[in-house]
């Protein structure tokens, strides 16, 4: 048991303990208890920094299902270390913040349980080398996000937002799974590192580009890229700490992680370059453009997150060009885009986390987030104002904050790319810096809106009546730590660049010899160049637009509401619901006979079909044992009982005849020396009889069925077909030799599994996976019966849903 797997498992273990022990803890303490986990994990992860920054990577494999090559491989390199530090670091701050943010009346144990579940899943995503394990953790982040968005599940908007985010991210996840399977088909391995090592072998495969697109779909839905961004604003129904954590700092960056991780695989393709860059730039523009018109501070921040994610995404796209060009001293300059991407990713987590916490404080103290009702709060919340000012100006790209540095690098990267003449960049390339610049203007405008309309102007009288005051110190610690980083990174960017960002470059560009070369020296003053002029232009035009906001805001009404992506989403979901309802009603008739027909027909078609198609219906009696006379007697008893059931007219008779069948089968087991099966059969028969007796009092009298001749005939044919299939397969299987016999394992049971009872070694060892899952299924079935009987809605009961 080594440390790296423990890092992933500890949040899960703690999440499992919370529901059990939360009653013993007071509501005040539970948050502090949970806080210990991310803080200690963060400290533990910082000890990896020296090793990773010296170029080491750490990997450990834990065998899980080795026969299917499914192993739990943890892999810590520069890229995963950055993400894990963000996950645990921001996680610690968010939990500290929520201790003060959430009222003690909330169901805190659920909240922290889901949050830890998310943390573990997210750490699993970034530490997994195995694609299937990564996928499982990936979907688990979607599930925990769903639970957290619907935390206030009594609100309709929360449930709708949770469902929307789940639908979109999980659909993308399934697309990604298909992409992963294609990668497996091409490369024969699920390990990301092995795929990267053998990239030459697979890049000409016909499935390569489809796999690329499918993997990108997963990344784009998760990272809320255009046009899948619509789930993120609705996800703001979650409690604000959750928005700060999942929907700005970590989960939405999983898509970025995926793109960065797969850059060495797909990076050389023109499709990848234009898809990642193009979608990123469109998202950047569309997000910032829409953020300006929002009136809810959280919705504004949501669109701003969408836009910033687009920025990071487009930078990764720009950086992928270096893979296409291959390594040389001229091309290494293009890797700076990817460097800027990771740099901005860290910066974005700091300032956006702080801004979300700021909005949480405003909401908590004032009671509204609507900027039309806010204003003049600088007098009431001076400390919160500081957070808002620093966070917004960093996001707007102003010095002396870290956003300025990464924004300048972004401009540099967009300008540099226009010098290339591949990928039809000589014609289309000029659009890249233009879109980036226009989007930055809108970013500047909404940053001014956040600060200006919340903290300046007049205080509305109804706010003053409530006599609001500054937030408690506990809620201010976390945002202040974050803005401390915002300022600190500006003054010491190369510390971060050298120790944390540089090793990540080796993960994105594994074929490039030196990470030293790919790490630019970040300096705040880089001369009077185009980038600086661009920034000055952004500021001048941004300020003008902000003051003329009322004049040009009507342009947002040009876009009709009917054509938005939200309406499209509602249409698709509505159609899907209607269609599946109609389709389901068509075959779920509520008649048991129908269901049996489906089951039996499927059985006959598949089982008999396979034997028929492979031409396996051949048997001879050479290998069969002789038939004894008492066996024949048993067979006739069973035939008689089976036919008699059809003509019985009371339930007791039916049950008894059924029992005759069951006990005769048990007899057969005895005759054929299978005491385990005989015992089981006998006890099952007894229990079934008890169950029947219990059920009798609820059943009406047995009435002769009224059905047409045709129905009777069809049912008769189906029964005969089923009987024939079972008998013929039973006979034919003795001579079936298409597969190798596995009975050698069972015969050697004592040596292989340490038991002399073959039946039990099969159950407990050879096929233990089946047994384990059957146990789970049995339990679920039991709970299902319990729930159906105990929890059924009483007549006239209120609908719980709404």
């Amino acid at each position: 048991m080594t440390v790296d797997i423990a890092i992933i498992l500890i949040p899960f273990i703690m999440a499992a303990f919370i529901p059990i022990f939360y009653r013993q803890l007071s509501k005040r303490l539970i948050g502090w208890f949970v806080l210990v986990i991310p803080v200690s994990l963060f400290l533990l992860l910082t000890t990896y920094i020296p090793r990773v920054s010296s170029g080491q990577t750490l990997s450990n494999t834990y065998e899980w299902i080795p026969s299917f090559n499914i192993n739990f491989t943890t892999y810590i390199d520069g890229l995963s270390l950055i993400f894990s530090l963000l996950i645990t670091g921001v996680g610690s701050l968010v939990i500290l913040y929520s201790i003060f943010y959430l009222s003690k009346k909330e169901s805190l144990h659920h909240f922290y349980c889901y949050l830890l579940l998310f943390m573990g899943a997210m750490l699993g995503v970034v530490f997994s080398d195995h694609l299937m394990v990564l996928y499982a953790f990936w979907e688990l982040t979607s599930v925990s996000s769903f639970l957290l968005i619907a935390f206030w599940h009594h609100r309709k908007a929360s449930r709708a937002g949770a469902r929307k985010s789940m639908t979109i991210t999980v659909s993308g996840g399934v697309a990604m799974l298909v992409g992963f399977l294609m990668l497996y088909v091409m490369s024969g391995t699920f390990s990301i590192r092995e795929i990267i090592a053998n990239i030459d072998r697979i890049s000409d495969h016909t499935l390569f580009v489809p796999a690329l697109i499918l993997v990108l779909l997963g990344a784009f839905t998760k990272s809320a890229q255009f046009p899948f961004h619509i789930w993120l604003p609705d996800a703001m129904e979650a409690p604000t700490p959750v928005s700060a954590y999942l929907h700005s700092a970590t989960m939405v960056k999983a898509g970025i992680y995926l793109v960065a991780r797969f850059t060495p695989v797909f990076g050389g393709e023109i499709v990848w370059f234009w898809a990642v860059t193009g979608v990123g730039l469109i998202t950047l523009f569309w997000g910032s453009f829409n953020a300006v018109k929002q009136v809810d501070l959280k919705a504004l921040l949501a669109f701003s997150t969408v836009s910033q994610l687009g920025l990071i995404m487009s930078l990764l796209g720009l950086g992928s060009v270096a893979i296409h060009l291959g390594y040389s001293s001229e091309t290494v300059i293009y890797t700076q885009a990817a460097f800027a991407a990771i740099f901005h990713l860290v910066n974005h987590s700091t300032f956006k986390g702080a801004l979300f916490m700021m909005v949480g404080i405003v909401d908590h103290e004032i009671g509204t987030r609507d900027i039309r009702r806010l204003g003049g709060l600088i007098r009431i919340l001076p400390l919160t104002f500081t957070v808002a000012l620093i966070g917004s100006f960093s996001m707007a790209g102003l010095p002396p904050f870290n956003g300025f540095l990464s924004k300048e690098m972004f401009f540099t990267a967009t300008l540099k790319i226009t010098e290339l003449d591949i990928f039809s960049l000589d014609s289309m390339g000029v659009l890249i810096p233009v879109v980036a610049w226009v989007a930055s203007i809108f970013t500047f405008v909404y940053c001014l809106i956040i600060v200006g309309q919340t903290f300046f102007g007049k205080i509305s009288p109804d706010i003053l009546e409530k006599n609001p005051h500054e937030a408690p110190i506990g809620m201010l610690i976390s945002p202040f730590i974050l803005i401390g980083f915002v300022v600190g990174i500006f003054f010491f960017p190369n510390l971060l660049g050298h120790y944390i960002l540089q090793p990540a470059m080796a993960s994105i560009y594994p074929t490039f010899p030196s990470t030293e070369e790919m790490t630019p020296h970040i300096s705040a003053w880089h001369g009077l160049n185009t980038e600086l002029y661009m920034t000055i232009g952004v500021v001048l035009i941004g300020v003008t637009l902000y003051f003329l906001l009322k004049r040009w805001k009507p342009i947002y009404r040009i876009f009709p509401q009917k054509l938005s992506f939200n309406v499209l989403y509602e249409r698709v979901i509505g159609f899907g619901e209607n269609f599946s309802e109609r389709a389901t009603k068509r075959y779920m008739t509520g008649s048991l006979t129908h269901y049996f027909i489906y089951i039996y027909m499927a059985f006959v078609i598949i089982a008999a079909g396979v034997f028929f198609m492979t031409d396996s219906f051949e048997w001879n009696t050479k290998n069969n044992a002789a038939v004894e006379s008492f066996e024949l007697i048993l067979v006739f008893v069973m035939i008689f009982a089976a036919i008699a059931i059809l003509f019985s007219n009371s339930r007791i008779t039916t049950v008894l005849l059924n029992g005759v069948l069951g006990f005769s089968v048990a007899f057969f087991f005895v005759v054929f020396r299978a005491p385990d099966l005989a015992l089981t059969q006998l006890v099952v028969e007894s229990v079934t009889t008890a169950l029947f007796l219990l059920c009798f009092k609820y059943l009406p009298d047995l009435k002769p069925e009224k059905s047409t001749k045709r129905v009777k005939f069809t049912n008769g044919v189906i029964s005969l077909l089923v009987g024939a299939t079972v008998s013929v397969i039973g006979l034919a299987v003795m001579n079936y030799d298409k597969f190798e016999s596995i009975s050698t394992y069972f015969e050697d049971a004592y040596n292989l599994a340490g038991g002399k009872n073959i039946v039990n070694t099969i159950l407990g060892d050879f096929r233990a996976f089946d047994t384990m899952l059957e146990v789970v299924v049995l339990f679920i079935a039991g709970l299902g019966v319990y729930a159906l009987i105990k929890l059924k809605a009483k007549k006239g009961d209120a609908d719980i849903e709404n």
Binding site: M1, Y62, E63, W64, I65, P66, P675, D676, L679, T680, V683, V684, S686, V687, A690, L691, L694, C695, Y698, A753, G754, G755, K756, N757, V759, N760, L763, G764, D765, A768, F769, T771, M772, V775, V776, L778, F779, A781, G782, L783, V785, Y786, I789, K790
Partner: protein, 140 residues
């Protein structure tokens, strides 16, 4: 109408012990002889059901104050837990091990981790069986 079931009650009092003993015996004998977790669980479960049928729900519940849903849940936890447990010993998922141990008084005994797994199976079977029968019989 009150059914006079003195004979049933008297017989069951003795028989239940035999059934429960048989259940435990079957559970432990499963390693090398007929028996095992599933069948042991079934026998134990049907013994308990027999008690419920003979006496009324309240009497048995006051003597056996288990929540059988939790018994089943504990079983699932044991079965999956023993499967995960092998990972802690650097062995693949679901690996079981066994060995011979010299225990005072009992002498040399063959012990195996698969017993934990089988105990999980048995508890799930008991819990689910009793839960289903109780919930159907309690239904109004």
């Amino acid at each position: 109408m009150k059914i006079n079931d003195v004979i049933l009650r008297t017989v069951v009092k003795g028989v239940v012990f035999i059934i429960l003993t048989l259940g435990v015996y079957l559970f432990f004998s499963g390693h090398n002889a007929p028996g095992g977790g599933f069948i042991g669980g079934l026998v134990l479960g049907s013994g308990i059901v027999l008690l419920y049928i003979t006496y009324d729900l309240e009497t048995i519940q006051s003597k056996m104050p288990f929540d059988f849903k939790k018994v089943a849940a504990l079983g699932v936890l044991l079965a999956t837990g023993s499967a995960i447990g092998s990972l802690y010993f650097n062995a693949p998922f679901l690996t079981q091990t066994d060995g011979y141990f010299n225990i005072p008084i009992l002498g040399e005994k063959h012990l195996s981790t698969v017993t934990i797994f089988e105990a999980g199976v048995a508890l799930t079977v008991i819990g689910t069986l009793v839960t289903i029968i109780l919930s159907i019989s309690e239904d109004e």
